[in-house]
């Protein structure tokens, strides 16, 4: 639990917890066990298991309707699961009303109380907890000061900019030192520049206070930048739950590979396996080697996914993985060269270094990529 005054928690101890959380061997802080939620016959969440560690920044990422917001709402207590168990520190909380869960929630449109001033909004959770008036005043003053809202503390939400409202909503959700902070696309309404700034501030806050944050977003960039772990949602299930690096570099499913970033996909059959490696015979002919992230039988149909920036172009085929291609198009994009390639019926994209040699349209070449940097996934 957080100690007195969330904004005053000692950075050192917070840092410690954050580090602890990311080592991989965690004691679960929140457990979701076989959680389902149906609206009528429609299953929004389907038998889902999820563990959240204390101090971690977990992003729930997915397209709209994938169930990520429903999970957040069930955690907050606004939606009751159809079946399954939610535990906080080992205690069941799924039947606890929202106001007794002690979780801070930051809503998409901030949900500030329009009839209260900034200070009154921030004081609200403290007053609801029956805190003495003097203490409320002191805590609110300190919190508002910390986020630099003191000059506008007597304004009503309607008189604030989007960024200021965001900051008030955040302060209000943190001032009562909740066990978890749940955020539902909190940066969605901000313009790009402000959003990036707030991403930075949020990360700062997380690092400094050691907060446990569950963050719902449909913006993959946001999820990649901020999270300790990302859960990629699709149709009520978690497709993959891993660190941003793993999600990006070793997607386990076609959905994850395609949803996050850009990818090239080759169809083929598994010919041989060697531990975490497999040899795949591509339908187009060449044999490639790739990382295995899940079990595949020999002869199974599979896809090989490789990110465009991992693809190189060479005149010879002496790399481990080399696919003969023809250059279709080269586009200069400032920080890189984008080359469209066609190889035996497959179209692919390579992002090359700006300074790489220029390839003429129509030139014959080999697309090469390191076996470390491509993954076998189920079709």
């Amino acid at each position: 639990m957080l100690s007195a005054g969330f904004l005053c928690a000692s950075p050192a101890s917070a840092e410690g917890r954050v580090n602890a959380c990311c080592e991989g061997h965690l004691s679960a802080f929140i457990n979701l066990e076989r959680i389902s939620k149906s609206f009528g016959s429609f299953k929004v969440v389907d038998e889902l298991d999820l563990e959240i560690a204390q101090g971690e920044f977990l992003s729930l990422l997915g397209p709209s309707g994938s169930g990520k917001t429903t999970i957040l709402m069930m955690l907050a207590g606004f939606v009751e699961p159809t079946s399954g168990v939610i535990k906080l520190q080992g205690q069941r909380i799924d039947h606890l009303p929202a106001h007794r869960r002690n979780m801070g929630v930051v809503f998409q449109n901030y949900a500030l109380f329009p009839h209260m001033t900034v200070a009154e909004n921030v004081a609200f959770p403290l007053i609801m907890r029956g805190m003495a008036k003097a203490e409320v005043g002191e805590r609110v003053g300190r919190a508002i000061d910390m986020v630099q809202l003191t000059p506008i503390k007597d304004r009503k939400p309607a008189q604030l900019s989007g960024g200021q409202q965001q900051r008030v909503a955040l302060t209000r959700a943190l001032v009562f030192e909740p066990s978890v902070v749940l955020m539902d696309e909190p940066l969605g309404a901000l313009d790009k520049q402000l959003r990036e700034h707030m991403q930075f501030e949020l990360r700062e806050l997380h690092r400094r206070l050691g907060l446990t944050i569950v963050f719902v977003t449909h913006d993959q960039g946001e999820a990649l930048t901020m999270s300790n772990r990302i859960a990629v949602f699709n149709a009520g299930r978690i497709e993959q739950l891993a660190s941003p690096e793993a999600i990006y570099d070793r997607p386990e499913t076609r959905f994850v590979a395609e949803f996050i970033g850009e990818t090239n996909m080759f169809a083929g059959k598994v010919e041989a396996r060697d531990g975490a490696r497999a040899k795949i015979r591509l339908d187009a002919g060449p044999m490639v080697e790739a990382n295995l992230t899940s079990e595949f039988a020999s002869g199974a149909v599979a896809l090989v996914s490789v990110r465009p920036e991992r693809v190189r172009l060479a005149e010879t085929s002496n790399a481990a993985n080399a696919v003969p291609v023809k250059v279709l198009d080269t586009v200069y994009q400032g920080d890189h060269l984008r080359v469209r390639l066609a190889g035996s019926g497959v179209e692919m994209v390579a992002k090359l270094e700006r300074k790489a040699r220029a390839w003429a349209v129509g030139a014959e070449a080999f697309a090469t990529f390191d076996p470390e940097e491509c993954t076998v996934i189920a079709p």
Partner: protein, 395 residues
């Protein structure tokens, strides 16, 4: 050369002219006319100018003299517009009953007599020997008067010209005015007590349930006032549905008096005015973002506290404007109290209507209207101050 700014201003002025004209013709002008009517009093003076001059010298106490009689006869012989004469007679009659027959008798006698012949007024009608008729005329002479305003507040000027209370047996305007405010206030409170939960439920529901709730409250607006009142009659009478139902289930043995008393008036008026309360609250509630209640819950507010500190304060502006609407509309009611009320449920509007249409005494109607307007305005200002009070959550 007109500068573009001037032209733009003139265009704007031109555009609001129809609105201004509308306000002037249909709002300011009638209001001003009503106010003027309640204090002006030139009709008698216009028709009887000589008499006015002579009466100005008379002390009002000594017996009527020949000079006064002569002046009156001279005036009555003058050809005058019959409308103006009618106004003057009506005015005198409302000062003192009996003037109508007195004046028409005297006028025809004066016109029938030969020129220059002195008339014995007392012989025409013995009432001319009574100083009170002359005094009434003297009082009706000044151009401006406070008699209507005084009478509207159950006051008069006594023989010595001092303001004195009218006999409680002869005038009850103050009581009726007070009763009007009481009934309007009770109806407003009841409407708020029913309308607030109703609007909350309507705003919380969706689809056909909400549609039915809204139609149920709007229906009275689409029904004629008389039909609605007749429906209440059927429900509330001694052998009506409510009393029958209560008797059947054995709650009462004698019928409850629900109609032809204050209870009936308040029930019927509350029903009729409920839409004016529900609709502003409801539309106010619809503008409240949906996630405020979950937000309050996440911040630790139980349902009750979330209602008390978030929903209620946000519904308050709607409640306030609804209350204002209901109160103002209720003040002007008189048909419903007339149909389902008892002896003591008549409201001030019916008295105003009596003077305005019943006896064409527009001075009196104007004075009562003016007093109603002033009291209402004062209440409105007080209300304005109260509704601007700070929010309830302290820092």
């Amino acid at each position: 050369m007109m500068s573009s700014v001037t032209r733009a201003r003139l265009t704007a002025l031109g555009l609001i002219t129809p609105l201004m004209a509308f306000l002037l013709v249909f709002f300011v002008w009638p209001l001003a006319t009503m106010m003027m009517a309640s204090v002006t009093d030139g009709t008698v003076r216009g028709v009887l100018p000589q008499t006015a001059t002579v009466l100005a010298q008379w002390d009002g106490v000594s017996p009527p003299n020949a000079e006064m009689s002569a002046a009156l006869v001279t005036d009555l012989r003058m050809p005058v517009d019959s409308l103006a004469f009618g106004d003057a007679v009506r005015r005198l009659n409302s000062e003192l009953s009996g003037f109508r027959s007195l004046m028409s008798r005297t006028a025809s006698a004066a016109k029938g007599a030969t020129e220059g012949q002195a008339l014995d007024l007392v012989a025409i009608d013995p009432r001319w020997g009574d100083a009170k008729y002359w005094l009434a005329m003297k009082r009706a002479m000044p151009l401006y008067t406070d008699r209507y305003l005084l009478a509207a507040a159950d006051l008069e000027r006594d023989a010595s010209g001092d303001v004195a209370a009218l006999d409680a047996n002869t005038s009850a305007n103050r009581q009726i005015m007070l009763r009007t405010f009481l009934i309007a206030a009770s109806v407003t409170l009841l409407c708020a007590a029913i309308g607030l939960p109703y609007a909350l439920i309507a705003a919380a529901t969706k689809g056909w349930v909400r549609a039915i709730l809204l139609i149920a409250v709007l229906l009275p607006l689409w029904t004629s006032l008389l039909v609605r009142t007749a429906a209440w009659f059927i429900l509330l009478q001694n052998e009506g549905l409510i009393n029958d139902a209560l008797k059947t289930i054995g709650l009462i043995s004698e019928p409850l008096p629900l109609i032809f008393n204050r209870t009936g008036v308040i029930i019927a008026m509350t029903h009729v005015l409920l839409p004016f309360m529900v609709l502003p609250i409801y539309s106010g509630l619809l503008t409240i973002p949906e996630n405020l209640m979950p937000a309050a819950a996440s911040l630790g507010a139980s349902r009750l506290k979330a209602f008390r500190y978030v929903l209620l304060p946000l519904a308050l502006p709607g409640l306030m404007s609804g209350s204002l609407l209901v109160f103002m509309v209720a003040l002007g009611y008189y048909i419903t109290p007339a149909l389902v009320g008892g002896a003591n449920d008549q409201m001030i509007s019916s008295v105003i209507a009596f003077f305005a249409t019943g006896t064409a005494n527009w001075g009196m109607a104007g004075a009562l209207g003016l007093i109603l307007l002033v009291v209402t305005t004062v209440l409105y200002l007080v209300y304005g101050r109260l509704s601007r009070s700070p929010t309830m959550v302290a820092t």
